[in-house]
Amino acid sequence: MSTTLPIPARRRLRRLAGQDLPTLLAAVALLIVVAAALLAPLVAPYPADGTTATHPAASLLGPSGAHWMGTDAVGRDILTRVMYGARTSLFIAAAVLVLSSTVGVLLGCVAGYSGGWVSDVIMRVTDVFLAFPALLLSLALAVILRPGVGTAIIAIAATWWPWYARLACSAASTIRHRAYIDSARCLGLPRWRIVAEHVLPNSLTPVIVQLSLDAGGVILTAAALSYLGLGAVEPTSEWGLMVQQGQSSFTTEWWIVTFPGLAILLTAFSFNMLGEGLRQALDPRKVAR
């Protein structure tokens, strides 16, 4: 995606890496989460616990040398399940963001570039989706469909794309008045090509920022759905599900809810920090130094 960023944006990104400590820390934290997710089968202490294995004899053990984060009610290693949970959460986040930004940006660019009734139709449909509270709509969809990771992705993406449509629409409606769009029209390019090659790539900067800001929110929503029993189901490792399973015994076996809870907090927080850093770095109003 970086190849489509305008060059000044790339320069700003490079500067960001050297200057902004909180953003850098957030990026490092996310790198660790991503590494944990990717390498889980290799580095997790009890890879089988990530899925179906159970060890009744080792249930509800507190944190120790053998189980750094303790074990759950059926004896599975929490650290392993937190690492496998990172896979689930990041997968859901990636799928939701790809799905909703693709749909949203395409519709938004078409609406913003075309204007007139095309824009009216697309943007009023978007408004209808935005009129419902996001979590409520996701819940309703998740209830209709069967619980599972796929359901969570569809339910969340359905409430997320309108934001991208709006963002891309406002970017595209400014860009359509730029000189290079008129000059593309004067080259005799068809409308769809102008949207795809001239409007869209130039509308992406705000979208990229929004993507990183939204990743945290998607992970939180996915955790909430699983917590409510509408998202990922056993034996999938999922942070929200783990919190839900441990909450009844929170006062005695505190480790069951705490570690997945911390994982949610850390990941969502880091994505927000990174997004904020990106927003500031890519803000064209900020004077380049």
Binding site: G188, L189, R191
Partner: protein
């Protein structure tokens, strides 16, 4: 189409916004190898006339009437499809701000290649046409690897002209093509316009407010004020012996007009 018939023929063109006439061109024709300039102050309706001729007002609230014929095809009221078939291959636009008129996220080489491919030019032929056009505008092919903001204004403007040339546009409309450039670069671009008109028989319709520039390149001049044509004729006659007071006022506003500057380079 015989060689003598004009590339562009405008008859009774009138552009109105909400019933108010902002620009009118009763009669204008541009032949092959000819440079015609429309001059006037800002707000005189000269740029509006140019956008109407290119059919760019088709989807706006502007009310365009009259006739604009490009190589025998009517532009006023033409469908988007007809306009698309004319644009690029028959007529092209060169804009005032060269860098702003090139997509900032696309390398120049890709931009020109895509445009050619879209006009049905094969890969091998495209490469040949590009290098031919780059030679015609005296640009090094190395700049094809760069983005618009990585080249100078003069280079970007010559690239924009190369884009029009390689698509085979026979009418090139230019909206203040030199006013965003340095004085020395202006001269290069003006020389280029003149040279392309003479060597490639390209028809040029140039909108300008700078009479010194116009005197250097144009064969014919149309002076516009408040949306109306006040004077028209061969450059030498109009600028050498203006009959209308407004033309005289415009000429007086030029800081220095070099002696003997009226005419061609």
């Amino acid at each position: 189409m015989n060689a003598a018939s004009p590339v562009l023929q405008v008859t009774g063109l009138s552009i109105q916004y909400g019933g108010r006439r902002v620009s009118s061109l009763p009669d204008l024709s541009v032949a092959r190898g000819e440079v015609v300039a429309i001059v006037g102050e800002s707000g005189s309706g000269k740029s509006t006339a140019l956008t109407a001729i290119l059919g760019l007002l088709a989807e706006t609230s502007a009310d365009v009437s009259g006739s604009v014929s490009v190589l025998g095809t009517e532009v006023v009221g033409a469908s988007e499809r007809t306009l698309r078939s004319l644009r690029g291959s028959e007529m092209a636009l060169v804009m005032q701000s060269p860098q702003a008129s090139l997509n900032p996220t696309m390398r120049l080489g890709r931009l020109i290649h895509r445009a050619l491919r879209r006009h049905g030019v094969g890969k091998a032929e495209a490469a040949g046409r590009i290098s031919d056009a780059m030679t015609a505008v005296r640009l090094d092919e190395q700049i094809l690897d760069r983005y618009a903001h990585e080249v100078s204004g003069g280079q970007a403007q010559r690239f924009a002209i190369a884009l029009a040339v390689c698509l085979g546009a026979q009418l090139i409309a230019a909206d203040e093509p030199t006013s965003a450039l340095d004085a020395t670069v202006q001269l290069e671009v003006l020389t280029l316009i003149r040279r392309l008109a003479e060597e490639r028989r390209t028809a040029w319709l140039v909108v300008a407010h700078d009479l010194a520039m116009v005197s250097m390149i144009a064969d014919h001049v149309i002076v516009m004020r408040d949306g109306e044509v006040v004077e028209t004729g061969p450059t030498r006659a109009v600028l050498g012996d203006p009959t209308h007071e407004y033309t005289r006022a415009l000429l007086d506003a030029v800081p220095t007009l070099p002696a003997g500057g009226v005419g061609h380079v």
